[in-house]
Symmetry: C2
Subunit: 339 residues, 2 copies
């Protein structure tokens, strides 16, 4: 029997992780007795309808101390302000991404020091820890052991938290590990504050019959992944033994490395020329500037050793999104598709 916490459990990835965990019923072979979803927003009703689920709604920073006392066996720490928000509001980024992680770690540490078993902790880090550095240019594909040089506050805080978690783990306060998430595409719903938001928008809006604006050139390359592979990665990183990480607790999750042009080719392959034609290029210097500081692609050798694989290609990611929309009955999301 185990009791699991998901911070950011009201968000897109957190909701999908919760759904997957509830369907599996087990983590590391132990039955999930309770699943607590903490977020600023209430979790989805279909999740809270499950008797195993409890919601903790409110700012996470204020909740950490109380959460620590609940005696979780495992924690998925996904809550985060996104990259665009952190660039726009420096204090918000520090508070949401650095202070909150520290408060959560200290709450879990207090429970361990009081006699509890160190909880497993999976931290959602990001490919944004990597950035270009004139003194040591990024390789074309960043690897697990590429020297991080973040060029955003978001990436800086994620990297700092990776190191903080490694130290709390070294001291035995938690059994932590960090999964560097690739850019999850196609996100449903509306654009968010992430600079990477358009990577979903240029697929999602045309499929819904709407025009989309692409703020960067077709040559921009980026590591992409589906939400299903991301959730699979988070669970595999949770279930791995600390020995499987071989000393370094942060790993890249697998990605499909594709250019914007290749993404649109895949869109045309899956949905036709007419759908692709709804994408218009109009450069946004702010977004293009942030994206220019990201890696063009990733490798994930150590995730591969955990048995994790990237999606087959970007067309597969689009097809999965379409299938997810159909399963959810979200017909308006697909009204741009020829029937």
């Amino acid at each position: 029997m185990s009791k699991i916490l998901i911070t950011g459990g009201g968000g897109f990835i957190g909701s999908r992780l919760a759904k997957t965990l509830l369907a599996r019923g087990k983590l590391e072979g132990k039955t999930i007795e309770r699943l607590v979803l903490a977020d600023q927003v209430a979790p989805r009703p279909e999740l809270t309808a499950d008797p195993r689920v409890e919601a903790r709604v409110g700012p996470l920073l204020d909740q950490c101390a109380a959460l620590g006392k609940e005696g979780f066996d495992g924690v998925f720490h996904l809550a985060s302000a996104v990259s665009g928000e952190c660039e726009a509001d420096f204090d918000l980024g520090l508070r949401s991404n650095l202070d909150t992680t520290r408060a959560l770690l200290d709450a879990l540490r207090a429970a361990t020091v009081a006699g509890g078993k160190p909880p497993k902790l999976v931290f959602s880090s990001s490919v944004a820890v990597f950035g270009p550095d004139p003194s040591k240019p990024l390789p074309d594909l960043v690897a697990d052991d590429t020297l991080p040089a973040p060029k955003t506050s978001y990436g800086t805080h994620k990297l700092m938290c990776e190191y903080l978690i490694a130290d709390y783990s070294r001291k035995g306060f938690v059994d932590g590990r960090s999964a560097r998430l690739m850019t999850v595409t196609v996100r449903p719903g509306r654009p968010n504050g992430a600079a990477s938001s358009f990577f979903s928008g240029i697929i999602r809006e045309p499929l819904a019959g709407e025009e989309a604006i692409c703020p960067v050139s077709p040559q921009v390359s980026h590591p992409l992944t589906s939400v299903a592979r991301t959730v699979e990665g988070l669970i595999a990183v949770y279930e791995a033994s600390v020995e499987q990480f071989g000393g370094r607790l942060a790993i890249n999750l697998p990605a499909v490395n594709a250019t914007v042009g290749q993404m649109l080719d895949a869109l045309e392959e899956v949905a036709g020329k007419e759908v692709r034609a709804r994408v218009r290029f109009q450069r946004d210097e702010t977004v293009a500037g942030i994206v220019a500081n990201w890696s063009r692609g990733c490798t994930a050798e150590r995730a591969g050793r955990l048995g994790l694989k990237a999606d087959a290609d970007f067309a597969t990611i689009i097809r999965q999104y379409i299938a997810d929309c159909r399963e959810a009955g979200a017909t308006s999301a697909l009204k741009g598709l020829a029937s």
Copy 2:
């Protein structure tokens, strides 16, 4: 005219830096009008006797907000809890090395946002950011671009601060850079809480006519430096333009890479067999365990491009220590030397 702050200005390196700056009278060609020394302990009387010097005595964390309002042109941030203290008291390490740096950065940021020129900031990081990692073993000599994997809380906090300072600099709040200090030897006075304390003790105590215990084997190799070269490095890092760092703001300072055996050979060369014979080997598992997680030596290519050089050899470092003791009239420190 410029106004300079040294945090840790009551400590060994801070005092020496203050003395050197007062003797130079200038930084970046600008006359030093005021030199503020902030520390938990009062600065040395010979420093406060100088009309340019002011002391701010008390815990730095409590002083940061007020210091920020003083409008410094430049800051040397040296204040720090040492490695052994941080391993023994986890909260002390976080507070002294992470929270205090953050509070100082936020105070400087507030002054910049209020219309001030972003102050230059030199942060004393450490070779302790490097540690062994089974997934990517340390090279025999760690370089500027070696992937850090600290295996102490001290090294973790130093590394986190490097990244934090890089982000505050990227945003234009400070003009920051981090100098990774090598192990400064020979420190005068008594052993301190640093696990590296014995690197001074095995030279200092025999020269004073006392027995010294070496807690690690003669084969242990380590990057060493004199206080004079360290102060020279801090000033050069201050005076360099941000462009000279080529994008990555943390650099290794130069070191003499020597084994404990070579250090004792140098002691014999400088002071004779009888002095060397005062060192006794008695393994201390705690110290040996921490030291085993440090690098065996360093390179400092980028510091070299700033014109910085290591001491010629370890015997030179010992001779400098002896000369410093003589200059200070510290005859008891040399009473083990044949006259």
